[in-house]
């Protein structure tokens, strides 16, 4: 680590930026990891509970137990829209639905809106990971190029081109590229992993929306 002391001001600034990128990207990695892990586990538990329950009002009263799941948000939105529709029809019992299909369209739109907002919430901050993954190596490379330039200036001044003179300067410069890669590699890996997990959750949300609409429509058709 002693060779960090001999680096120039530009290389030091580059190193600080890269360390900042690394700190922030690891913050996001940990935050998203727990968020997505909770979303997955709560969704599984919620789906079990959903299929075991007979009534929407019973589910609505227990939905607070699964706060991490995006499906609960979809359910709340759909159930809320359904309630508004029932209230608008002048019927207090939510189990009795109107045959007016316009109500189902409203529920479908509410579910789509909730899905979009949940996708936005899940994908929040992941763009920073992509940015870190794509730019950190270049920032590091810039630091290296600058460091080598200054090292060669020093070599020209001393007038010696022996390996013992050239090598330390280049090693100091290369540390910037190394830290750039250290920041970028976990960011890229985490970004790809989170994108996969988010895609799975989006499919779960789509499936749940379809199932929810099916249930509603079946009840409408049954009445």
């Amino acid at each position: 680590m002693g060779f960090l002391i001999g680096t120039g001001i530009v290389v030091r600034i580059v190193l600080l930026i890269l360390i900042g990128f690394s700190v922030l990207s690891w913050t996001i990695i940990m935050f998203k990891f727990f968020q997505i892990y909770k979303a997955n586990s709560d969704s599984e538990r919620f789906m079990d509970f959903f299929w075991k329950s007979k009534r929407f009002d019973a589910i609505a009263s227990q939905v607070d137990r699964f706060t991490g799941s995006p499906l609960t948000v979809l359910f709340n939105e759909g159930y809320g829209e359904l309630g508004k529709f029932v209230e608008g029809s002048g019927k207090a019992d939510t189990s009795i639905l109107s045959t007016d299909l316009g109500g189902i369209e409203n529920v479908s739109r509410a579910l789509r809106r909730a899905t979009n907002s949940e996708i936005t919430r899940l994908e929040k901050y992941t763009t920073f990971l992509a940015t870190t993954g794509s730019t950190s190596p270049f920032i590091g490379l810039f630091g290296t190029v600058w460091g080598i330039m200054t090292a060669f200036e020093g070599i020209g001044k001393t007038g010696s081109a022996s390996l013992s003179v050239v090598a330390p300067g280049i090693a100091e410069a290369l540390i910037a590229t190394a830290i750039g890669l250290v920041a970028a590699i976990p960011a890229v890996m985490a970004y790809n992993h989170f994108q996969h997990k988010i895609r799975v959750l989006i499919k779960d949300m789509d499936s749940f929306s379809t199932e929810f609409l099916n249930i509603v429509q079946r009840n409408v058709a049954g009445k």
Partner: protein, 243 residues
Amino acid sequence: MGVSFIISTVIHLAVFLLLLWWGQLFPPTMAVQETYYVDVVNLPVANPRAGSPTQKGDNAEAPPPPAPESTLSMPSPQRPNAKGRAATTEKDEKSETSSDAAFAERMAKLENKAASQQEEAALEQLRKRLRTTGSGKAGMPAGRGSEAGSDYTSYIQSRLKDALNQTNDYDSNNPMVYVHLYIGTDGKVIRQKIEQSTGDKRFELAVQRAIEMAGDKLVPPPSHKVFEGKFRFRPKEVSRSKP
């Protein structure tokens, strides 16, 4: 998010401290490569000859002279005498037998003497070789007398020149600094004194840094005596200076 940020910062600090600790535990292997200087002129040779460069510096003695040729006095054979031949046959035979035994005895003595002289000379040569063998590694300037690498001043000069190439920095056109160096018996620079300078402070600082850098890895002076020498530093040159 706040908790994640704190955890992330702590992890980065931990990694940084770990690297610091690792660097102290295992220093980087980019150390300046040791350069060994062999004093070719004063290299000891096994059999110095007249006119060779080692004539002055090498104290090796010439190989021992061959064993002195002893003048063997062989009994001159008597000329055969026809007259007294028969009478003296017995006498001759007796005296011949006794002279042969004496001759063999003397020959044996002389051979033993020559062998012991050669043995003594060989032993003396071995003792001489043992005396002149230094305690340092091969090629290192730990030799004594006429041994390879005995020129400690040249060694110090070259180390200082290598170090100055790395620390070189100056403001004026032709800076020059004379430094008096004292190197202790353990190879550490115990004292350095700038005796004369053109006044370029940056160059003086570069010289001091070069001495510090070179002083880290010096081998002890020969014969375990404090080395004292005066050197002249110029931007691309370090030379000995006469006191």
